[in-house]
């Protein structure tokens, strides 16, 4: 291989990895945590059929799932400036990714809540627990256990989707790549290099998913006779 390209790859590797570790990963993790909070609340509202709030949740899911992520990023970052709302790129990205992932994860968690046998809630009532106590201690943990693989898949998708944040000037890994590529005109090696780093990150996450599933596997959420 051309030694110049090899040198470029070696030289640029930390320049990509560092924004990856300081931007891409934090953006993913922070957004995912907010998304989980949103998702659990929205899923519970839907599951319990809380009037009025349920309408809002339905509208939210309908809107988020029906519009492109890229458009959402532009609306929040550029669009809101019309109302004199000027957000830090990172903040705008966290808002959009949280709301976006929250809508998808809410549906996954709601489905999982519905799959928990009704007898679990009834048994909670019968030992004197309230709806919320049983929800928190019994039903929700089982639902999250069931939804775990699909939530982890979304987390990995989100990691890759954060590359879109470059379009709203978040200095994450992909933006760093574009900068170097624009300067050196070595598109193929650099874009392959960043692809490789994304691959590395998602592989590690998949490993973590396996470990997590094993840990959670101490109990089964299916009824056994």
């Amino acid at each position: 291989m051309d030694t110049r390209i090899l040198e470029l790859l070696i030289d640029s590797f930390p320049k990509l990895l560092i924004p990856g570790l300081t931007m891409t990963i934090p953006l993913t993790v922070v957004s995912f945590c907010f998304a989980m909070v949103i998702a659990v609340v929205v899923a519970m509202v839907q599951f319990a059929h809380v009037r009025f709030l349920q309408q809002i949740c339905r509208f939210y899911i309908w809107f988020v799932r029906g519009t492109p992520l890229l458009v959402q990023l532009f609306v929040v970052f550029y669009g809101l400036t019309d109302f004199n709302i000027i957000l830090e790129p990172f903040v705008a990205a966290v808002i959009v990714f949280s709301l976006n992932e929250g809508a998808y994860a809410a549906e996954a968690i709601r489905g999982a809540l519905e799959s928990v046998p009704a007898g679990q809630m009834e048994a909670g009532y019968c030992v004197g627990m309230t709806y919320l106590q049983t929800m928190r201690r019994i039903v929700l943990p089982q639902a999250l256990r069931t939804a775990f693989p699909s939530l982890m898949n979304s987390l990995i998708s989100m990691l890759k989707d954060t590359s879109l944040a470059s379009t709203i000037t978040v200095a994450e890994m992909f933006m760093a790549t574009q900068r170097i590529a624009g300067r050196t005109f070595e598109y193929m090696p650099l874009y392959l290099e960043v692809a490789f780093i994304y691959l590395l990150f998602s592989t590690i996450m998949t490993k973590l998913q396996r470990i997590g599933e094993k840990k959670l596997g101490a109990y089964q959420t299916k009824e056994v006779g």
Binding site: P117, G119, Q120, E122, A123, G124, Y125, C126, V127, G128, M129, T130, Q133, R137, I138, P141, Q142, R145, A218, Y219, Q220, T221, K222, E223, V224, G225
Partner: protein
Amino acid sequence: MLEVHGIKKAFGSLEVLKGVDLEVHKGDVVAILGPSGSGKTTLLRCINFLEKADGGTMTFDGETYHFNRATKKQMNAMRRKTGFVFQSYNLFLNKTALQNVTEGLIVARKMPKPQAEEIGRKALERVGLSDRCGYYPHQLSGGQQQRVAIARAIATNPDIIFFDEPTSALDPELTGEVLSVMRQLANDGMTMLVVTHEMGFARNVSNQVVFMEGGVVVEAGPSKEFFQAPKQERTRAFLRMIEQHGIYN
């Protein structure tokens, strides 16, 4: 101690309970018998507010409850003084045997964990499962699961325990271990209201029998009288059928 008057329940146009009266005294073991679909499960579920009855009243522990307008608070108060054992066990699947038993103490009654665990271990010992404290439900046999469910029900020291066909999901070999735990409870003076298809239990353990059919009580009385000198023709026919088939369903 528990008195139910005129309880009514319909699912859509299907009237399942057509005004049922029921009386349980302290220390009674009442067996509810009746053919499938007669409303036995529905009766227990309405009494414990798992199902909302359309009418009727109940007095329990000096409180009066109106089935169709009981508040959440009343429901919770009632359930705290009672235990419920389901046909399908309904153990908390994400909790170990011991945690299943202590959950109601720690979460609902705010009992300190060590104290709850001591009570929990004792309850599991009473049902012969001290060696299974750390097992999850899926690691237990059906009979063991049902005994954990009984331990869970007794741990909160209830005034009465409701049983809905506690052995009918079990293989015959496992039925015995659950029934003997229930017999032991009865001997210890626990008040129990038991829907069952086990004639041996109704005859030998329970002291009162309630025979239901089509959403009404056909006959109720002391179990000796019920089995030896039934008053209603319908009851006699029912008992003849059991004699021929051993059990019924």
